[in-house]
Symmetry: C2
DNA sequence: ATAAACAACTAACAATCGTTAGTTTTGTAA
DNA sequence: TTACAAAACTAACGATTGTTAGTTGTTTAT
């Protein structure tokens, strides 16, 4: 799509994402966003076209990254548990880098308007690719023979809401996450 | 607290929860809620005192249920994995019975005003009890010796967002959940 | 030094928000 | 049938919403 993103626009997107994370898209006003940047709401429109565009940019931008990475992993000749580990690591990476955008992606996607169909399709494709990896693992005896839908949503639920725990005070740090998330998610809780 | 809840008020709470789930508290107007009940917004005020009260009632009501059940399970003389299984089953039960309220609990709690401190305290207590159960399991060698914080949020993330997957078309049914959730969460994904 | 582009401002708009006041309709008990 | 209470209505309020128009100040390139 477009390439041009001025530094000021980036600031706006960043501050907006932070506010959206805390209170949700609908509860944040243009005046709220402007306040955090020490400017007036009307001045925002020198940089962006609408509140809606702010949300779309934030959400679609990070959703694209997930789609691209999934396509890359899908093509690699790896065993299932290696693919799963790569997916988990990528979720951690993006969450650590941009927890605010992750929150928007998870909580505010339904307020997309023009780009909603595009987003929903991307999300469905991502889940379908994830599901395929699990099913292939089951077929090859590498993954436990349980309902893949439940595995899928267990993994995705945890990965998608990671931003909550990562940004908590006394939350977990990035190193611990990368060290222990794959084992916890893939090998379970109970000692064998 | 209060005991009286007229049938009409229950209808209002139920319809409101459904709307809140779909679009979030802030994006839903009193006129939206009234429309789904074939009435005018002003008429709602014969039954409830404010929009805020609607949210508080929905959220606090279900949060109380979690607190009560946790207190019950905590006291029982069970092994760790049995306690965890009971917690998982209770989450499934409440989600299946009331996915709309579960969505409000997860997404709209930050819009509580008067009852926000009460809610936050309850939530912290719940997590602390959950954490204690895991730590005790580790001490007794029943639970894998990994970071309990990561186990905690893996379990809670999945349980808390279960309503998303349960209410999806082509989502999982209640029976499959009860059959397979505990194993998937506690024993992991990868075949041993 | 000047012009042009950029980015801030003030002021205001139409629409919509939650809520209130006052009135009418509906249902129930005597 | 009448009286009363419950629950709907109409109309409107003040506040706030996203956004626009027009203006002023500030950088930047020539």
């Amino acid at each position: 799509m477009e390439i041009k993103t001025t530094p000021r626009k980036k600031e706006i997107l960043s501050k907006a994402a932070k506010l959206f994370k805390k209170r949700g898209y609908s509860a944040v006003t243009m005046r709220d966003i402007a306040d955090t940047l020490d400017m007036k709401a009307a001045s925002l429109y020198n940089h962006i076209n609408s509140k809606q565009e702010i949300l779309s940019t934030i959400v679609i931008d990070i959703a694209d990254k997930f789609t691209n990475e999934m396509e890359k992993i899908k093509k690699q000749p790896l065993r299932t548990h290696e693919k799963l580990k790569k997916i988990i690591e990528f979720h951690i990476e993006l969450t650590v880098k941009n927890p605010d955008a992750m929150a928007c992606l998870n909580n505010d996607w339904m307020h997309l308007e023009e780009k909603l169909p595009y987003f929903v399709q991307m999300r469905e494709d991502y889940e379908e690719n994830f599901r395929s990896i699990l099913k292939e693992g089951i077929a090859q005896g590498e993954i436990a023979n349980r309902d893949p839908e439940i595995m899928l949503f267990s993994l995705l639920s945890t990965l998608r809401t990671l931003y909550i725990w990562y940004t908590k005070k006394d939350g977990v740090d990035a190193k611990t996450l990368k060290d222990q998330m794959p084992d916890t998610l893939l090998n379970g809780i109970i000692k064998k």
